[in-house]
Symmetry: C2
Subunit: 293 residues, 2 copies
């Protein structure tokens, strides 16, 4: 589908009683879906119905496509900056943060939550701000590269997640709710901060002793040639993740860094794969993507 | 203050441990604040710090000012319609619902949550969609009055709250979280619906056996002359609430209907008062507003 629809899908609601989702002895998985327009959310919901019979899940999502669209319509287009080491990120001033809150925590989060309810999944949407779920250290002044010059950019409302409110997540999961989490995060001093989702997922995995992370985006997995969807890297050995930092480009660089952080924190398997296809989660678990283990 | 600021207030964060807010034997209060630009949110937070020492609280908020502002900027201005009986309401089509989600559940809800954390209050923001917190019956085709003609308006994404997920509210409150709730609601068929906040508050009060409702807006209370802020009605006898339907105008008409519904449901005292002033909640509890009892 092209966007998250607010319409009912017509699928009969089979609300499951909360107790049916409670299985304290089960493993917990983090499933992260990117914020691209092409992500097949109906397919994710369908797969989740099955996954939730065996596993406890935390869902994390992005919303960059809708964010960029709304930012443009409001005549405050999203600004991207590049670090001296070549990692690109969004510059978030006060206005950009307002658009961020609107699209991530409002529009997209609640649309996903409603869609999950339509599949009988008792979802609760939260941002990293709620209950200080994602507590981050601000990183206001950043070094950026413009052409061949490096300069300091001030006032960036961004930070890196350091602490997780695991009590709130456990409270919801143990009572049959599926937490649907998105950035922004909140600083130790209670400022709202943009943050890298992949890093936050890694910190969350560590705090909750999670062994498996599934990450869905708009590509078949890690590509050795970003312009060739057939150049899929099917397996990455844990110990060799650093090698992939060199050829991962743009947003994939952050995914590699996040994966490295997650592996360091004890995660055993990370699945990267295509969120656009039919049954995206099941396909990925069946090995159709990049498996890091 | 003129708007909800995303900035830190500089007040030292004194995060209280969740257990300090747990008092199962205490009464629960619903505090509702309107979505006008003039609402003194810092004052509400300050008062809440004290109130939470004695009472358990559910906070409900609007966001109409920011909604209308963003809708205008996006060139999809908010449309208002009037029922044959003279009650005005917002017409919510798919686009208006997107703006609604962005401003209520995103921008304003999370800004309030972050501000509360800055006062050491462990807030969690939720919309009526999350966990089907506010389940509503759709009312898609509505009768509206245009001049002297009555016509049917179709496709309105609105409904009336009928069922509350009291388990989710209790789960959060009993574990030391302050729920910060806003519309939209979700239908039995999982469509996202705009809904009247005052009615939802009344249904929530009934479901949770709440005895006191505090409602803050941009007026000193109910005015016998809407154009004269000195014409405050200081007390309304429960049994005479119907009389006030006749002279309440515009948005106040809905407040009277909501109050009537709440009183029918067993609420003992409703406080209406000025959300713009210093210490808005304390002033209201001290009798400076309209008390319905």
């Amino acid at each position: 589908m092209l966007s998250i629809s607010l319409k009912s899908t017509g699928i009969k609601n089979q609300q499951r009683a909360p107790h049916q989702l409670i299985h304290r002895d089960k493993y917990m998985i983090i499933i992260k879906a990117g914020g691209g327009r092409g992500i097949n959310w109906e397919g994710i919901c369908q797969d989740l119905v099955e996954i939730l019979e065996k596993d406890r899940v935390i869902l994390v999502h992005g919303a960059n496509a809708r964010r960029d669209e709304i930012a443009s319509k409001l005549a405050v287009p999203t600004k991207t900056v590049t670090s001296p080491s070549g990692i690109s990120s969004v510059y978030t001033d006060k206005t950009a943060m307002e658009v961020f809150l609107m699209t991530y925590a409002g529009l997209v989060n609640k649309s996903i939550v409603a869609m999950l309810h339509n599949y009988g999944i008792n979802a609760v949407g939260l941002s990293g701000v709620d209950g200080k779920l994602w507590e981050a250290k601000p990183k206001k002044d950043i070094l950026i590269k413009e052409g061949n010059r490096v300069k300091v950019l001030k006032g960036n409302l961004t930070g890196r997640v350091e602490r997780i409110n695991t009590d709130l997540i456990s409270l919801l999961v143990d009572n049959g709710y599926l937490p649907v989490i998105c950035p922004p995060a909140i600083s130790h001093e209670n400022e709202i901060l943009n943050t890298d989702n992949d890093w936050a997922v890694a910190v969350m995995a560590e705090a909750l002793e999670i062994k498996r992370i599934i990450s869905l985006f708009e590509a078949p997995g890690l590509l050795s040639d970003p312009d060739d969807e057939k150049s899929l890297v099917t397996h990455i050995e844990k110990a060799r993740i650093d090698d992939y930092l060199t050829f991962a480009r743009k947003r994939m660089k952050k995914k590699v860094l996040g994966a490295k952080r997650a592996l360091d924190a004890g995660v055993e398997t990370i699945y990267w794969g295509d969120g656009r296809r039919k049954n995206p989660i099941k396909a990925l678990l069946a090995g159709e993507g990049t498996v890091i283990s």
